[in-house]
């Protein structure tokens, strides 16, 4: 099922060709947004199988597994009610609604409450191994929380706090300040957004997020990008400024500058951020091409990313719900 989701995602990308970079300045942000793709990404589901950790079963019978379709863009909090509903009667008796001790695990890796489900799947499983690893088999724990590695869940307030703050952080990057959210976002807007996440309701969520997400490239100061991987315990959030057209002209470079703000591609940024993982090489036709120095996949929203995609297009159309663009490097 995951695959059909992915196929339909890529077909949307194909039928809506990415506009030529040079055109972005003349477009309204609204014209550069692909709403059909936005909805497809929202509807992207991941089949997940959840088992209760064996040593935590406080009962003579073993509970059945939970099979659930988890929305890729949402967070583990979203499936927690169903998990608790099935396992609560088997849990250790001293752990009654101890939210701050609950956690999910995949292959001995504790999963994070504050990172979207799809980002963790892409980083940890990747694309090539997906067929083997679906459904995604997770273990749920009521105790033994890995304090050093994961943030504690403290119920809905935790979820709200971390989501809104991630939203403000991406806004600070993209707009230079989170003032728009701090000054204009009312309590009811925040409630509506969080409600959209809790119920996975597209209209509730995007009615509020649209104005925060859809910014014209000339309004942007920086890109909000995070890079996750399966080989390192922290992520990278590089500082990538949006080039202003006048900056490009004033550079004292020997070569004529043909760059405009929206010509910056995903490949350009990865090469600059990870010089030990990427290099520029000349291909057979004598063109400069980006090559990987090690064997890994570059994944955005479940699909292998094209290195020539303009970063602005990705930021606008492939960001997750906190308006960060998450890129995953899955090492094989």
């Amino acid at each position: 099922m995951e695959q059909s989701q992915l196929l339909s995602q890529s077909s949307v990308i194909n039928t809506h060709p990415i506009p030529q970079a040079a055109r972005f300045e003349r477009l309204d942000a609204a014209d550069a947004v692909n709403l059909e793709l936005r909805r497809k990404l929202w509807e992207g589901l991941l089949p997940v199988k959840v088992d209760l950790a064996l040593n935590e079963i406080n009962s003579s019978e073993t509970p059945r597994s939970l099979y659930i379709m988890a929305p890729r863009e949402n967070y583990f909090f979203y499936i927690l009610n169903e998990v608790k509903w099935l396992f609560d009667s088997y849990r250790p008796t001293d752990k009654v609604d101890a939210y701050d001790e609950m956690w999910f695990e995949f292959n001995n890796t504790p999963l994070k409450w504050n990172v979207p489900i799809g980002v963790q799947f892409d980083a940890l499983v990747g694309i090539a191994m997906k067929q083997r690893d679906l459904p995604w088999c997770l273990t749920f724990h009521y105790r033994g929380f890995p304090e050093e590695q994961v943030l504690k869940l403290e119920g809905l307030n935790f979820f709200k706090f971390h989501f809104i703050n991630a939203l403000k952080e991406s806004h600070s990057l993209r707009m230079g300040s989170a003032q728009e959210i701090l000054a204009n976002m009312q309590k009811k807007d925040e409630t509506r957004m969080i409600d959209g996440l809790r119920k996975h309701n597209y209209e509730n969520f995007w009615e509020i997020n649209q104005n925060l997400c859809d910014k014209h490239i000339t309004e942007l100061k920086k890109y909000a990008l995070r890079v996750f991987t399966n080989v390192h315990h922290t992520y990278v959030q590089p500082n990538i400024e949006v080039l202003k057209p006048q900056d490009a002209q004033s550079q004292d470079s020997e070569e004529p500058v043909s760059q405009n703000p929206s010509s910056l591609t995903l490949g350009d940024v990865l090469l600059e951020t990870f010089p030990r993982l990427f290099e520029s090489v000349l291909n057979d036709s004598g063109e400069v091409e980006l090559a990987k120095k090690r064997n890994f996949e570059v994944i955005v929203q479940g699909v292998e990313a094209d290195m020539n995609t303009p970063l602005y297009w990705l930021q606008l159309n492939m960001s997750y719900l906190d308006n960060f663009l998450y890129v995953c490097l899955h090492f094989l």
Partner: protein, 108 residues
């Protein structure tokens, strides 16, 4: 840092330069004796949270069960997993990372 945590020098290879962080009390939070600290680039924001909490608890200005909130530039609370290097490069003000701490939630 937990030695079990995975590291890959091709992905991240930090130098050991310290980054200067300014710690500013907000609202009813007590001022710290050391309001400027140097933190290694490879550390995460969690290290700063732990530092501020320990200092406040030592001075009995915060009880272990009391909340503490840390913000950047009086705007947002970063994820505790975020690297100091990245926060500095993305949000620095005059070669310093400005952190504000409060015992109640501030800035929405």
């Amino acid at each position: 840092m937990d030695p079990k945590q995975q590291t890959d020098p091709d992905f991240i290879d930090d130098n050991d330069d310290g980054i200067e962080i300014s710690l500013n009390a907000v609202g009813k939070a007590s001022k710290l004796k050391t309001s400027k600290i140097k933190v290694k680039r490879k550390h995460t924001f969690q290290n700063v949270i732990t530092f501020v909490r320990t200092q406040l608890e030592k001075g009995q200005a915060l009880k272990p069960d009391q909340s503490l909130f840390l913000y950047i530039n009086s705007q947002f609370a970063p994820s505790p997993n975020e690297r100091i290097n990245d926060l500095y490069e993305c949000f620095k003000t005059q070669n310093m990372l400005i952190v504000n701490y409060s015992i109640t939630e501030a800035w929405g």
